[in-house]
Subunit: 235 residues, 2 copies
DNA sequence: TTATGCATTATGTATGACATAATAAAATTA
DNA sequence: TAATTTTATTATGTCATACATAATGCATAA
């Protein structure tokens, strides 16, 4: 069909800007494995000359790579390839006020998934010192858990410690990114109202299981512990 | 102590560039909730004038926000605030060849955590059509699972479908980001050699549980299913 | 040999100009 | 008058040039 093929031609129109092209070229250069971390890339003027564009365009493309954490540029040395701290970078752009509602809700869910799923790593890597610290956190807890006016700081301290125990820094960073989102969603009108404000398995109960139980038991206990959050998602 | 306070003064030296300051100022402007998605921010020249810097600096700061997905700029309309597609953005910068080894390993672990933790969402949101599709995927599977030369595409099809069932688009994007990393780590020398190449719970077994079992059963089954991966992490 | 200062160099910042595309306003036509 | 085309305006995109700044290496002096 003539019209159809015409439409396809339209859709394949190259609408990308000059900078887009240069950026793609540079990214591909990195992906082609010809360059490793620590290697430096040609200087701006050289790139501008070789690609036949202005230094402005090159600078903008390089800037994008820099924001993405792929390179780092020093005053004299030029730009060098770096290993990006992904979550550090996106943490900057995770702004509860700006993210749309469905994304916010999904990030709320993500936390529940992570805390249930990380059981095996906790059991594999926990140390006696960790257990001691957990017990200390729990002991300091205000026992007014019934009215759900539980201290947010204690929540963060306890659950944050669990992430720490997994020994997975990326996971920890992920949590740090999720924290403000979770708090925001929790207090916004995005979810159903809190119906049952009962706490099932307590923090202390979780610690007991960590000490004497199994990953399997922990998963179920954590699922139970988070019931109040789940109940706001499912009806 | 004089020296000490002097050193503190040194450490607090402001080493940030002009663009850094402008960027921070703009981000704060967004976070201050005075602006919502869809609102447009002042034009470049106006910002340059108001902040007393050149248009070059403003452009670079705005560009950073754009790369982070916080704004989008159109030809005439100026820049408007947008809700960032976080994982879409970082997917670009997730390059297994560039990420350092420990991060790669941690992202490998992240997948295991997610797939075990997402049980409740699968059970809550699965439809009969989903089950039918899962069965179809399983039926097409090459049953040469013993020698572990299982088809990568089938792995992706099956596990990808599970992510899809959760109905969490953010989670799905997260998986898409993790996929190449997981594959890379799996085939690189980063982990221990595969010792037992036995498959415990099969894909078919998982489907059975989804159909007739509980989230609790699924978590344990998935943990078992992923044993080959876990065994390469733990000794 | 060790500092110190100087020259060099590549990125950072500033300015001015023009291109381009999207919007609004004006003009033309039915 | 209403609909359509043309034109003008405007803000971002690209280019070119100049100078500032900071890091590096070399030369010089103590």
């Amino acid at each position: 069909m003539a019209i159809n093929s015409l439409m396809e031609d339209f859709s394949s129109l190259d609408t990308s800007s000059l900078v887009d092209k240069v950026e793609a070229k540079l990214v591909q250069l990195l992906k082609d494995q010809k360059l490793n971390v620590g290697d430096s890339i040609p200087k701006e003027l050289e790139l501008a000359e070789r690609l036949g564009v202005s230094r402005t365009v090159i600078r903008e493309a390089l800037l994008r790579l820099r924001v993405m954490g792929l390179i780092e540029s020093k005053k004299k040395k030029g730009a060098v390839i770096t290993s990006p701290d992904i979550f550090g970078i996106i943490s900057k752009s995770v702004n509860p006020h700006i993210l749309d509602q469905s994304t916010l809700k999904e990030m709320f869910e993500l936390r529940l998934i992570l805390e249930i799923g990380m059981a095996d790593f906790i059991f594999q890597r926990i140390t006696p010192a960790d257990i001691k610290e957990l017990k200390q956190i729990v002991s300091k807890e205000p026992d007014a858990t019934q009215d759900y006016l539980f201290n947010i700081e204690h929540e963060i301290a306890f659950h944050g410690k669990l992430y720490e125990i997994t020994g997975n820094e990326t996971l920890k960073k992920f949590q740090r990114m999720l924290l403000p989102v979770f708090d925001y969603v929790h207090h916004s009108g995005l979810l159903k109202k809190q119906v049952s404000i009962k706490r099932f398995v307590s923090h202390k109960g979780l610690v007991d299981i960590i000490e004497n139980g199994s990953p399997e038991m922990f998963r179920n206990a954590m699922r139970n512990h988070l019931e109040n959050h789940f109940s706001r998602l499912f009806e």
